[in-house]
Amino acid sequence: MKKLIPLLLAALLTVSCLRLPEIISSSQSAKNTAVCPAPFTKEKYRFVHAIEASIAGEAGGALIGVTIVDPTLRFVSCAIMTVEGLVLFQAESGKSLRVIKALHPFDSEEFAVNLIADIKLIFFAPAGELEKAGKTEAGATVCRYRQQDGRRVDVISDSRGNSEINLYSSWKNLKRRILLTPSGGSSYQRIELQARETVNYSLIMTLIEAQPIEGDTAQDESKSQE
């Protein structure tokens, strides 16, 4: 029985980490947006990342991801390709989602919707209203945004400059955990995403290059694919 206690404690801790945590805040800080972490890109950018994918705990091979983000329009254009250069998936999303190319196993609508949602979660400030600001139990700064559908997004920043973005379902269960480890002036030097779905998956994205973009991204990208 003694041997079981640490295991039970570990299990309880794991479960508690997967639920929407309490935010410690004073009445003054609770709605103060000025204190909120904002690791998100503020201008149009093109990112190229090496992607290490893992599905249900098994290594899923190396890929390369190209992402164009325009935070003003909340526009995303993205492509996933093999190391050999074969484009497996390409899509863009502004007001609506447009899949340009999708090969198996990237050809389901669910994949496209989730991928774009993940990209927006990583690169754009949460769309919902600030629900609460304060500190985590560990002392990091956190702001919680409530979205229209009842989901919450916590944006957390620790004293070392690392950021964490956590998405919780309307049932307060953790759905996404994104860790941003900045380096060389970019918040997106290393992105680690853990997704809790029917089949869990994780991505480790390492920056190959980042480049600011001038001009009307959404228009340019739509034209380029015609």
Binding site: G61, C78, A79, G85, L86, L88, L103, D107, S224, Q225
Partner: protein, 204 residues
């Protein structure tokens, strides 16, 4: 279900089959391919896409030993290795700081395509019903492969291989996916029939 065709294999096949090209017909190409025992080379791969403002550049190394051993290795920016040795094909990718065998569909597809690889390596370059092959002599020898039917619809439009007429070394391979996207591979330091250790095809 569309099969994900491993471009690495395709490139290797192209290199094997076109390096010995000293004539303007495929029969002679086939005959001369029998002289190739080993190849080793470096390559620079440039991926062109509209979504990229400038090409994405990768570099790597390639080794081949007759009859069916090869190594196609990307060194940067993403490490990846495909090995074929004694009928077994494996693909490795970097994961968690170490090279891990890729067990996904891409690696399995490589094994499926191995039969095609072997057919092409034996010189049947223009006899694969999946591709229509043409050869044109100019400043360079240019071989063009176009998929027949809808085998590669939406995946591959054509493959163009450029071979130097003077020394018969491969210059480049261009793989066109569609009007917006193509991959250009340029070979450097190509060495034919130089010693290549068996361990190159077994050890990552």
């Amino acid at each position: 279900m569309k099969k994900i065709f491993p471009f690495g294999l395709l490139l290797i096949l192209m290199l094997l089959m076109s390096s010995p090209a000293a004539a303007d017909d495929f029969a002679r190409l086939r005959d001369e391919s029998a002289n190739i025992k080993t190849i080793r080379a470096r390559f620079i791969q440039k991926k062109f896409m509209k979504i990229l403002s400038r090409p994405l550049v990768s570099d790597g190394k390639f080794y081949y030993a007759a009859p069916a051993s090869f190594r196609w290795e990307y060194v940067a920016p993403v490490k990846s290795i495909a090995l074929a040795y004694k009928g077994e094909v494996k693909k490795y990718s970097q994961s968690g700081g170490k090279m891990v065998e890729d067990q996904t569909g891409g690696a399995r597809a490589m094994k499926i395509v191995l039969n095609d690889v072997l057919a092409w390596m034996s010189g049947h370059f223009d006899q694969n019903p999946a591709f229509a092959a043409t050869l044109r002599e100019g400043t360079y020898t240019e071989i063009t492969l176009k998929p027949v039917g809808d085998n590669f619809a939406g995946l591959l439009e054509k493959i163009e291989i450029i071979v130097a007429r003077k020394d018969r070394t491969i210059k480049s391979i261009k793989i066109t996916e569609n009007k917006n996207d193509y991959t250009l591979i340029e070979f450097k330091d190509v060495e034919v029939n130089q010693p290549v250790s068996d361990s190159v095809f077994q050890v990552i």
